[in-house]
């Protein structure tokens, strides 16, 4: 059996940032387990730029952003195993993993950091009628085909879902010579960043149909077309609005699901909105010594925020290993009204610093006021010119404020328009 102070599952931006911060905080015995053949995670196939503006103050591509952390991991001599799949974590914080070289690995950890990221919702989760012709794939799969493998999965494309990956792939496929017929979005708004609608769709004259979905897929061996229809306010297709669009490829960009199989199997409590673990301000789950960060905790829109959150988790795990993380009085956080969720869900009141709460809204709003209430009383009020479901918001709770709370209290974030 191997022994490490901290075992990190996932060598993407979350896992690497957590490892580096844990090392900085004085823990040397760290092992990263990565399923793919290299560190870097999904960034390796995200060749477009736009990463790092918040964290590095410059615009990098995905691989460039990843390589800065890969270089640091190597420089700090942090151990990692690639091509290695974590299979199970146990009640006493052992990790079972497997790879071709070592076979089955049994690793005893003092702390575990979950950094497995997320995966795309597949067609099966949508129940779209139609044939099972080839040419239907997730936008991320197409991204891997084009950007890593170097071949085009289709020539005439319809994209369902206007999340960032769908928008980015609309541009990518167009640049490589495909005709993107349209992007359909079930909701009356896009969950993608505004800049991506402008630079990925508007720049190339690709139409975005809001409140529209794909109701049928045609083709025997290969997709020959899809039927799209407008939907009503209950997201039900409106009879008479059906339209056939000829295409050979349907890309799905319909949401991401945190990969929490390991988390769930060991009985860690999950948040029904984020589909990630319920955590405290250091991202420790309700299973002592197990932390979670990045997209496995909640889906982020910017990798920069993944990095920051993972540093917090790395610091927390290091404190835990060094016996400096005490548990005691806690308050819980609660989003109401437009606020769909808040991370972290719990805050320890003996924390010595300020605590940043990240949250997401369920609707777009203009000239809104974000209000933080404790025990029903307003303690913070911040104006926001624009709120959108696709853009994560944050608010800082100052330490002196934290000190005035008492055990079992509820901190509420709400939005007034």
């Amino acid at each position: 059996m191997l022994n490490y102070d901290i075992v990190i599952i996932g060598g993407g931006p979350a896992g690497m940032a957590a490892a580096l911060r844990a090392k900085e905080c004085g823990v040397d015995s760290i092992l990263i387990l990565e399923r793919a053949e290299t560190l870097g995670g999904i960034l390796e196939q995200c060749i477009h730029t736009g990463f790092g503006l918040q964290y590095f103050g410059e615009e990098l591509s995905g691989p460039e952003y990843a390589s800065r952390f890969i270089d640091l991991v190597n420089k700090e001599k942090i151990e990692y195993k690639t091509d290695t799949m974590a299979l199970e974590i146990t009640q006493d914080n052992k990790v079972y993993a497997v790879n071709k070289k070592d076979g089955l690995l049994e690793i005893q950890a003092k702390a575990i950091i979950l950094a497995m990221g997320c995966r795309e919702r597949p067609r099966g989760a949508l129940n779209i009628a139609g044939t099972r012709a080839s040419g239907i794939m997730s936008a991320g799969t197409a991204q891997k085909y084009v950007n890593i493998d170097g071949y085009m999965p289709g020539k005439k494309v319809v994209i369902l879902g206007s999340g960032d990956i769908g928008l980015i792939m609309a541009r990518r496929m167009t640049l490589e010579g495909a005709k993107v017929e349209c992007v359909c979005e079930l909701m009356p708004y896009s969950s993608g960043l505004t800049r991506n609608i402008v630079q990925c769709l508007d720049d190339f004259g690709i139409p975005l149909y809001l409140s529209t979905t794909v109701i049928d897929i045609h083709g025997k061996d290969r997709v020959t077309g899809v039927t799209i229809a407008s939907v009503d306010e209950n997201r039900r297709p409106i009879p008479g609005t059906e339209r056939l669009i000829e295409c050979d490829t349907l890309l799905l960009s319909v949401g991401l699901i945190p990969e929490n199989e390991l988390t769930r199997a060991v009985g860690i409590g999950l948040d029904s909105v984020t589909n990630g673990a319920v955590v405290d301000e250091y991202r420790e789950t309700d299973h002592e010594g197990v932390f979670a960060c990045g997209n496995v905790l909640h889906v982020h829109d910017l990798v920069d925020f993944v990095t920051l959150e993972s540093q917090t988790a790395g610091e927390g795990a290091a404190k835990y290993v060094l016996g400096k993380k005490q548990k005691g009085a806690q308050v819980t956080t609660k989003g109401t009204g437009m606020v769909r969720y808040i991370v972290p869900q719990k805050i320890n009141l003996n924390n010595e610093g300020d605590v940043k709460l990240y949250f997401r809204v369920g609707n777009t709003a203009r000239n809104a006021t974000v209000k933080v209430k404790y025990g029903g009383e307003e303690i913070i009020s911040r104006k926001r010119p624009r709120l959108a479901p696709g853009e994560m918001e944050s608010v800082v709770i100052k330490n002196e404020m934290l000190k005035s709370f008492s055990d079992g209290g509820v901190l509420e974030i709400t939005v007034e328009v």
């Binding site: 390796e44 060749i47 477009h48 730029t49 736009g50 503006l53 615009e59 990098l60 591509s61 995905g62 691989p63 460039e64 390589s67 084009v146 950007n147 890593i148 493998d149 170097g150 071949y151 640049l175 490589e176 960043l193 505004t194 800049r195 609608i197 402008v198 630079q199 720049d203 829109d301 910017l302």
Partner: protein, 122 residues
């Protein structure tokens, strides 16, 4: 006349309003939250620019392609011409992050540089 532009310089996506005189001169720029937003909005009126991120074929590497980008913004109307030039180029592995893969693409004065490593196969 005024034009509303969504700044794409960073993920903030500020909504910028540019006031233009009848003779086409820019009178004012508002709504931006940083200097880069002002510059972007002005360029968008006079000569729109975009950065390009794509892949380039590699011979003998662990992957068939290596990701690359334009080292600076390119004239927007030349994007497809630049794509053609990149797609008709092939380099030999190994490629290192930062290597110049195409110098002065389509006479724009901008280089295409690798944004990842592509080691030699085997």
């Amino acid at each position: 006349m005024t034009r509303n532009i969504t700044c794409v310089t960073c993920p903030m996506g500020c909504s910028v309003t540019v006031e233009i005189s009848d003779s086409g001169e820019i009178i004012s720029v508002s709504g931006n939250t940083c200097k880069r937003g002002e510059e972007y909005a002005k360029n968008e009126i006079t000569h729109p620019q975009r950065s390009l991120a794509t892949t380039l074929r590699v011979e003998g590497g662990i992957y068939n392609v290596v990701p690359c980008k334009s080292a600076g913004p390119l004239p927007k109307e030349k994007i497809f011409e630049c794509m053609e030039a990149v797609n008709s180029t092939c380099v030999n592995a190994p490629v290192k992050l930062g290597d110049v893969l195409v110098k002065n693409i389509c006479g724009t004065g901008v280089d295409i540089v690798a944004t990842n490593h592509c080691p030699r196969k085997g």
